[in-house]
């Protein structure tokens, strides 16, 4: 199995500058690249796949520098956004394509094997236009695997999939990582699936690496508002916002505990027994809606809007607007935003 090292790779596209980016990809490991639109995620993948010229740094596959290699020589399974399936070819001929262009004599056997594995045998004569989202994803992954790639690169694998198909695709990728031991690099907007798949994360912002590390580190130290929201913190406050509402006791309390760019915390539970909690606040209900994890409530606390949740199980009526509720915030659950930036080329994990 192959190990990949991306060392200080840079690309300059017109005004946009990507990198330098460093990534280590070992067999059986998966890296998720996160970032807002325009942060350079897709450019990074296309640079690794050989479609964008690397203006600096190098890409090394098992000790061989492949930075200047043509895309077709790199032997990676690159799945672009939208999958890039061939609409004029049947499922079978899509999967067979990489074997066909390599003139592999075992093309028929290998194609059958993959169609079996991804439950596509009964769909082999269908064209992509007649497949569901989940089926299309399975065709894309079977095709990417056909010629035994040494790395899977996937841009937004979970785009436009329903919950069930997302779950299945998550399992397929997990299997590739654990059983096939192929290293995986994914770009995604979906935190749940990123956390279920990736061992380490890379956050890009404006073409620069903002942060790099594993899941625990990411949850402990969300670097900025985007990251905090991405990993699921529902209450994220910028320093400026807290300063502007400092007359509210909760804002002042949070401000004291935040440094850098602001502070984040998960949705706190409503206290049932007043006074039993260490730090207690009160707010007026703005809205309330039932969710599988309990009733999600938005409270107005002075100048701040805070998301809280009623305890599970909840069987009573939804709280009315304007009703006052008490809640607590565990000081240990607070995560200051804005740790120092990772300097290019230094490992943080």
């Amino acid at each position: 199995m192959t190990a990949w090292v991306v060392e200080g790779v840079e690309s300059h596209l017109d005004e946009f500058r990507l990198g330098p980016v460093d990534i280590a990809l070992e067999p059986g490991r998966a890296v998720a690249v996160l970032g807002t639109s325009g942060s350079g995620k897709t450019t990074l993948l296309r640079t690794l796949a050989g479609f964008v010229r690397a203006d600096g740094g190098r890409i090394v596959r098992d000790g061989t520098d492949i930075t200047e290699w043509m895309p077709e020589e790199r032997n990676l399974g690159y799945v672009p956004q939208g999958l890039g399936l061939f609409v004029h070819r049947t499922v079978e001929r899509n999967v067979r394509f990489p074997l066909e262009v390599r003139g592999r004599t075992d093309a028929a056997r290998r194609t059958n094997e993959l169609l079996e594995r991804f439950h596509l045998s009964s769909l082999r004569h269908r064209y992509p236009a007649r497949l569901s989202g989940g089926e299309l994803q399975r065709v894309a992954i079977a095709r990417a695997l056909a010629a035994d790639p040494e790395l899977i690169i996937w841009d937004e694998p979970w785009q436009a999939l329903d919950v069930q198909a997302r779950h299945e695709l998550g399992q397929v990728l997990q299997e590739l990582r654990e059983t096939d031991r192929i290293p995986i690099l994914v770009v995604t907007h979906d935190p749940g699936l990123a956390f279920s798949l990736a061992d380490s994360f890379l956050i890009l912002h404006g073409g620069q690496v903002r942060w790099r590390g594993d899941a625990t580190a990411l949850l402990d130290h969300p670097i900025d508002r985007f990251t905090a929201r991405f990993v699921g913190f529902e209450n994220v406050f910028d320093r400026a916002e807290l300063e502007a509402t400092a007359s509210t006791p909760l804002a002042a309390w949070l401000l004291e505990r935040s440094f850098g760019e602001g502070i984040a915390f998960a949705r706190p539970m409503i206290a049932r027994t007043p006074g039993a909690l260490r730090v207690e606040w009160e707010g007026a209900v703005q809205s309330a809606r039932p969710t599988p994890e309990g009733v999600a409530v938005t409270l107005k606390v002075g100048g701040l809007t805070v998301a809280v949740r009623l305890e599970v199980p909840w069987s009573g009526a939804l709280p009315a607007a304007g009703q006052r509720l008490a809640f607590s915030v565990d000081p240990k659950s607070l995560h200051p935003l804005g740790l120092p930036m990772v300097r290019p080329g230094t490992e943080s994990s």
Binding site: A49, F51, E72, G82, V101, Y127, A129, R130, L136, Q159
Partner: protein, 297 residues
């Protein structure tokens, strides 16, 4: 399906179901589109009603008429071949490459569609006038232009190839870059990507362009009147002396033989209509390959 997947939505067929529209709106659509269809159909009806049926049958049996139609299809077939060899690659270059002077090239390609075709004949006449180097060289190579099939093909290519260039350009442009990139990444060389992915995906549009090229070539008269009013055997044409069907009909008309002109026109219309019908039915049945994947299960 997400935007830009290149895969048509599964529900597209269902969503194509007609909306209920108001009666006035429907009437307006019927009147406007009906008027145009009438404009297409009425002159044809006039032709068929003017020529007695027996005359049409006689035209079909006339060997000179058949020779002229056959020659027209032969020359227009060579024109389509030239369009495949020259116009499709130019369309590909325009779609896939950015280069200095591209707008000028695009304007030059569009020009033959806009200029009066007598002008094309005149231009070619001046180019190949006896005494010019082109006249000497082309004759030495057996490529005689005046009153030979090559002259007809030259005019036809000039006036009709732009349709294939434009259609190829648009069709290659419509192929999603990401599809081409995944093909490359899956191990295909640039030549393989072109042959196995770009070309099949653009084929439907290219074929539509070639059909227009063929139709435009068949209907050409202006340039041919100057370059090859009469066609003598020579080059790849070894049949009797003839002329393209448009010139043939024009001759009948200018000679005052209106009924014969209408009869030959009607017969030619039937042949051309049959050809278009066969192509359309072939497409719909999936027998012709360029719409596979859209229609098949």
């Amino acid at each position: 399906m997400a935007e830009g997947t290149g895969v048509p939505n599964r529900g597209a067929r269902a969503s194509r179901r007609r909306f209920r529209s108001g009666p006035y709106w429907l009437a307006l659509q019927l009147v406007l589109s009906g008027s145009l269809i009438l404009l297409f159909v009425l002159p044809i009806v006039a032709l068929f009603t003017y020529a007695p049926f027996s005359r049409i049958v006689a035209a079909a049996g006339n060997s000179a008429v058949r020779e002229s139609i056959w020659f027209t299809f032969y020359a227009s077939g060579l024109t389509v071949l030239a369009a495949v060899l020259l116009a499709v690659p130019l369309g590909y270059v325009l779609a896939r490459h950015r280069f200095l002077g591209r707008s000028v090239v695009e304007a030059v390609v569009a020009l033959p569609v806009a200029v009066p075709h007598l002008l094309v004949g005149l231009g070619l006449f001046l180019l190949f006038v006896p005494g010019t180097p082109l006249y000497t060289w082309s004759n030495a190579l057996g490529f005689t232009v005046y009153d030979r099939i090559w002259g007809v093909v030259l005019v036809m290519v000039f006036v009709s190839a732009p349709y294939t260039v434009l259609a190829s350009d648009l069709s290659f442009r419509a192929v999603d870059d990401r599809v081409l990139e995944s093909a490359r990444s899956l191990g295909a060389s640039p030549a393989n990507v072109f042959l196995l992915v770009s070309l099949p995906l653009a084929l439907r549009g290219i074929v539509a362009g070639l059909l227009l090229t063929w139709a435009r070539a068949v209907s050409e008269i202006g340039g041919i009147l100057i370059i090859a009013y009469v066609v003598y055997p020579g080059g790849p044409y070894t049949g009797p002396t003839t002329s393209v069907i448009s010139v043939y009909i024009y001759n009948l008309f200018s000679g005052g033989d209106l009924a014969d002109a209408a009869a030959v026109s009607s017969f030619f219309l039937l042949v051309a209509f049959a050809i278009f019908l066969v192509v359309r039915l072939g497409e719909r049945s999936g027998w012709l390959p360029w719409r596979r994947g859209e229609l098949a299960p």
